[in-house]
């Protein structure tokens, strides 16, 4: 008997790739997809890497597929936007070895800048989409996706969501399949997508869509469960679980493939049930197609396009029930915050003091937008800080941005910041870019990147020298400053923003959580000296709190001795405490 274990959805995806004989995996970290690569790295049979961004990752996987092996790229939903360019065209060229792309959506916005629906992108790219509903299916669907990919000569997207990726469920382990590499045969008409060839491939794509729509009716991952036929529900993915909880008596068509839709199967199911509901999180992708075929159904009239669903939500919307709920107490929020000892806090405290605006980016440092720091003015997408600052200057002139900087992390700079910096140099910007270099990809839980000197596998590699890189691009004013040296930072920021030339400030200090070495010093407040002015509290360190009597204290279970508070105290009321 094979072994049964409990696995995170993302761990199960990795296991599925392993069992399917996948040989190459590439990704850029992004919640909620990161743990796929972090688990794939445990299998020595798969080459796996962190690529600098999702476009590169997908292209790496495409190359591996063309060469004849099973390949994987994984990313979060907004990462698929970055990878959209190769995505739309690999749909035309098709594959050699199977090509699977796992994309993690984030309904409810736990850790993202938007709530877009990957199925809409996949429809536009005409790529089949599978959607598992638990860890066990996560593993099995990867294997099925590789079969589909090779049989129908198409990349296959597996869509997951935060709830699936970050839930654990039971998984039965199987052995790795021995998949022979496919022979590579030069096929210019298939792999060179210039207009003449692409015209031909477009026809192939259209007939592939039709074939999948028809054959999908017999795929074992599309399942019909007939029960009481008063209510019929078409659903997929995690919402299937909510349907089973809330409507145990209903007939259900559970779609494992959500693009293209198995039309005949849906028409047959619809004809057998009295009232048809369509339960899908985010956009009405299934609903709009089903209704366009003249089928009556209820969907977004009663169900939201925002956030996650739940069984209670369905009980209310479909059954009109009011489940027992004692009323929630209105409680003060606990928003996420920068950790004690975070170097970003030090940089932001200086920007705050200088009343400088910041075009922000994606990472922990986005939290600089939250009070009391409140220094981040904009956050759009990866790499946008640098280019939006440039756009402001071109719109309003160089004096307008004398009290602005762009703020970007080291990993994000490697991702898509470099292009924007090239643009600033090329188009004669005078702006100031701050690279907050904490030597890791912080928000997603410490992944290496091209400037950390380590690969995903943990091997040593060349570490890109960011200072040299910026100079090579053409920035002559590059400052490298310790992120905790607030005096130096202040001087450098003033100088850089005032000059009529482009400047880059690299503020360096490792993420406070990166080094697990024990804390060697902490700080404490000498109550008899403290004037209770509150200067030390301005940067919003969670370790510093004010008691009812007005006295200020540093929590010794949280302080990790960064010293920012001490550097801000004008009365020497904060004292270093050496720890053993």
């Amino acid at each position: 008997m094979s072994e049964k274990v409990i696995m995170l959805g993302n761990e199960a995806f990795a296991r599925g790739a392993y069992e399917a004989g996948c040989k190459v995996s590439a990704a850029y970290p992004g919640t909620p997809s990161t743990e796929i690569s972090e688990n794939i790295v445990k299998y020595d049979e798969i080459y796996s890497e962190w690529s600098p961004n999702e476009k590169v990752a997908l292209e790496v996987a495409i190359g591996a597929s063309i060469s004849g092996v099973r390949a994987l790229a994984s990313m979060k939903h907004v990462g698929l936007n970055v990878a959209a360019d190769p995505l739309f065209t690999v749909s035309y060229s098709g594959v050699n070895g199977g090509l699977v792309i796992i994309v993690a959506d984030d309904p409810g916005l736990y850790s993202s800048q938007n709530e877009q629906d990957t199925r809409a992108v996949a429809r536009a790219a005409k790529i089949p989409v599978l959607e598992p509903s638990d860890s066990s299916e996560a593993k099995e669907f990867v294997k099925f996706a590789y079969e589909l990919s090779e049989k129908y000569d198409t990349p296959v997207i597996i869509r997951t969501t935060t709830r699936l990726s970050h839930s654990q469920g039971m998984v039965e382990l199987n052995d790795r399949m021995e998949i022979e590499d496919k022979t590579y045969v030069r096929d210019i008409a298939k792999y060179v997508m210039m207009p003449g060839n692409a015209k031909g491939r477009h026809l192939v794509v259209e007939s592939r869509e039709l074939a999948l729509m028809k054959d999908g009716c017999d795929f074992p991952i599309n399942q019909v469960e007939y029960k009481d036929k008063k209510i019929g529900v078409i659903t997929s993915g995690i919402p299937y679980q909510y349907v089973k909880e809330a409507l145990p008596e209903a007939s259900v068509l559970k779609l494992g493939m959500v693009n293209p839709l198995p039309r005949k199967l849906i028409e047959e199911f619809a004809s057998k049930v009295e009232t048809l509901y369509i339960v899908e999180e985010l956009d009405p992708i299934i609903e709009e197609q089903v209704k366009s075929w003249g089928i009556q159904a209820v969907g977004k009239e009663i169900l939201t396009v925002q956030g996650e669903y739940s069984a209670n939500l369905l009980r209310k919307a479909i059954k009109g029930e009011n489940p027992f709920i004692s009323s929630a107490v209105s409680v003060v929020n606990r928003p996420p915050i920068l950790c004690p000892g975070c170097p970003h806090r030090s940089v932001f405290s200086v920007l705050n003091r200088l009343k400088i605006h910041a075009a922000g980016d994606i990472g922990c440092y986005t939290l600089g937008a939250v009070a009391p720091l409140s220094v981040i003015d904009t956050t759009i997408c990866m790499g946008a800080s640098i280019s939006t600052l440039h756009g402001m200057e071109k719109a309003k002139g160089k004096d307008y941005i004398k009290n602005w900087v762009a703020v970007i992390g080291d990993s994000t700079f490697m991702h898509t910041g470099i292009n924007s910096l090239i643009n600033m140099v090329y188009n004669k910007s005078t702006g100031t870019v701050m690279i907050l270099d904490n030597s890791t990809t912080g928000m997603t839980g410490h992944q290496d990147h091209a400037a950390t000197g380590k690969t995903l596998k943990g091997d040593s590699t060349y570490s890109i020298d960011m200072e040299a890189l910026c100079r090579a691009i053409g920035v002559s004013n590059v400052y490298v400053v310790n992120a905790f040296d607030t005096d130096k930072l202040e001087t450098v920021i003033k100088e850089a923003t005032q000059m009529d030339e482009i400047a880059v400030i690299i503020a360096k200090a490792p993420c406070a959580l990166l080094d697990k070495a024990p804390v060697t010093k902490q700080y404490r407040i000498l109550d008899e000296v403290c004037k209770r002015c509150g200067m030390c509290m301005k940067p919003g360190c969670p370790a510093i709190t004010k008691k009812e009597d007005g006295s200020i204290h540093i929590n010794d279970t949280m302080c990790n001795g960064c010293g920012l508070c001490e550097s801000l105290c004008k009365f020497n009321a904060i004292e270093e405490v050496k720890l053993k």
Partner: protein
């Protein structure tokens, strides 16, 4: 058996994941279907975090909803208050008597509620402890979460021996003894 619904709430960084994994391991050992739901990413950074554990003959949704929790394990008082309405009418709350001020309180924009434990005691079965103090007595403040779990274990219907076996199988080998001691301490605290 009806599916059991357990919630573990706290502040990002308090170690709720270890606790849920011990509990999940226990339910698997007993032969149940198990689902756990966790929080990763941005919300983890000092924010309010919640982990769901469900076990029974067949578990569908991986989350626990309002009005369904049998046991709520709260590592922090304010988080106990935030999620108390997830409890069933006769549900139990285990509260670690620790206060961590959220940023709106730190900057003076909001007040930390007073008498949380007393007020919750009027509506629910509350079991409180100061796990940090208890852990310091054991000489290792890191095991405070296993002490809390020990208190909660009284309300979940597994034998003490089963708990100890799972703890042995889940925690790093070097910390087995201290974690077992921590569990026993919690287990006997309200018995």
């Amino acid at each position: 058996m009806e599916t059991k619904n357990i919630m573990i709430v706290g502040v990002g960084g308090q170690g709720t994941l270890l606790t849920s994994r011990i509990l999940g391991g226990l339910a698997i050992q007993a032969g149940y279907d198990v689902k756990l739901s966790e929080v990763h990413g941005m919300a983890q950074r000092g924010g309010s975090v919640v982990t769901f554990v469900r076990y029974g003959e067949k578990v569908y949704e991986p989350i626990v909803e309002e009005g369904q929790a049998d046991v709520l394990i709260a590592f922090e008082k304010l988080e106990a208050l935030r999620y108390a309405h997830f409890l069933k009418k006769d549900g139990a709350i285990v509260i670690n008597d620790q206060r961590i001020d959220p940023m709106p309180v730190v900057i003076g924009a909001a007040k930390y509620p007073e008498n949380i434990i007393e007020d919750l005691g009027k509506k629910y079965r509350v079991y409180q402890l100061d796990a940090m103090e208890e852990a310091k007595k054991l000489g290792n403040s890191r095991v405070f979460n296993v002490i809390v779990l020990g208190v909660a274990a009284q309300h979940m219907g597994f034998s003490k021996e089963d708990w100890l076996t799972v703890i042995e199988n889940t925690v790093p080998p070097k910390t087995i003894e201290i974690n077992k001691k921590a569990f026993e301490l919690g287990y006997n605290l309200h018995s």
